[in-house]
């Protein structure tokens, strides 16, 4: 359960990125979270309300874009999407896959702010 630390990092990053938009209100924070990122959306949402209280993010919505695991399959010479994280085999040919191409992401994709203010930088 390190979701609280994750939200604290989000608050820091988003607050820093607001510097050029003085007085802007944050409406939404959009994340990209891979299936191997070890975070659970429910826990993130639960912590979000608590950890953003009293910050510039208070009252904003957290949107989590979940990303499946993508592996490179050598025999198929293709990037293949796994259905889950219970087997790291190519869903097409059944061979084990060693090369992870997507799935560990844990990033802030974008924020949505109201546009009442002019960009100052």
């Amino acid at each position: 359960m390190h979701e609280l630390s994750i939200i604290a990092s989000i608050v820091d990053t988003v607050t820093e990125s607001l510097a050029p938009y003085k007085g802007a209100r944050i409406l939404e924070v959009r994340l990209r979270v891979g299936a191997l990122a070890s975070v659970v959306e429910d826990s993130l949402q639960f912590c979000y309300g608590i950890a953003t209280e009293g910050t510039a993010l208070q009252g904003s919505k957290l949107v989590v874009h979940a990303l499946p695991v993508v592996m490179h399959c050598v025999p198929c010479d293709a990037d293949v999407e796994l259905e889950g994280v219970q087997s790291f085999r190519c869903p097409q040919c059944g061979e084990p896959c060693f090369d992870l191409r997507q799935g560990r992401e844990l990033e802030i994709e974008a924020i949505e702010i109201d546009d009442m203010v002019e960009e100052t930088a």
Partner: protein, 220 residues
């Protein structure tokens, strides 16, 4: 009201990742092989590490360890009996070690005077998987009493590991433990991973483990 989308594309753990990259460079410059040991509580990380530190020292290697726990310095005291320098990191409730804690606790240690540095993480198979400590090798440990399906239950951790150690493989295995299935499950989550089947009681697999460490240290 009009709204604006600001693209950020920032890693949430970027600060940790950046510091881990700095640590990785320091380890490389010092010529020290750094291993991050992760498992559930009770898997036997400390016993396995006690044996490893003692044995490597007998062979003339220069070793040290950092050990993470929420509270107490019990593990550090156990590991220090090996004669190696050991420091305890108490996280006071935090469920993982992060790069900043490592950086802080390395203060005053000359990395160039070490061959191996072991980091025993907080016993937890979830959160430590997200935090890069700059290690060269992440070792996940699994004991026979935990069940063969542990890799399937905690795929994020097993998939992020570079080596797996099955512990407590004593001659009298617990009834119902299916050794083949445990190996199959690890391979299903992390195909091709190097697996060591070990027992610090009987000595099973330990020579092979030391050989692996020496081999990895030699190619740094």
């Amino acid at each position: 009201m009009t709204t604006r989308i600001v693209e950020l594309r920032r890693g949430i753990l970027k600060k940790n990742d950046e510091l881990a990259a700095v640590l990785r460079e320091r380890y490389a410059a010092g010529g020290v092989l750094v291993l991050n040991l992760v498992s559930s509580p009770g898997t036997g990380k400390t016993a396995f590490l006690e044996w490893t530190l003692t044995e490597l020292r007998k062979r003339g290697a220069r070793v040290a360890a950092l050990v993470g726990d929420l509270e107490t310095d019990n593990d550090a005291r156990r590991l220090a009996a090996s004669g190696a320098p050991v420091r305890q990191i108490n996280t006071h409730g935090i469920c993982h070690l992060d790069a900043e804690m490592i950086d802080k606790h390395l203060n005053g240690w000359e990395l160039g005077s070490l061959d191996y540095l072991f980091i025993e993480n907080v016993g937890n198979l979830v959160c430590p998987s997200s935090y890069d400590l700059g290690e060269a090798i992440r070792v996940v440990l699994l004991s026979v009493t935990e069940g063969e399906d542990k890799p399937l239950k905690y795929p994020t951790m097993f998939n992020s590991a570079d080596a797996a150690v099955n512990t407590k493989m004593d001659p009298a295995l617990p009834r119902g433990f299916d050794r083949e299935l445990a190996l199959k499950n690890i391979n299903e989550i992390r195909p091709g991973i190097r697996i060591f089947e070990t027992s610090v009681k009987s000595g099973l697999g330990l020579e092979e483990w030391l050989g692996y460490l020496e081999e990895k240290r030699a190619v740094l």
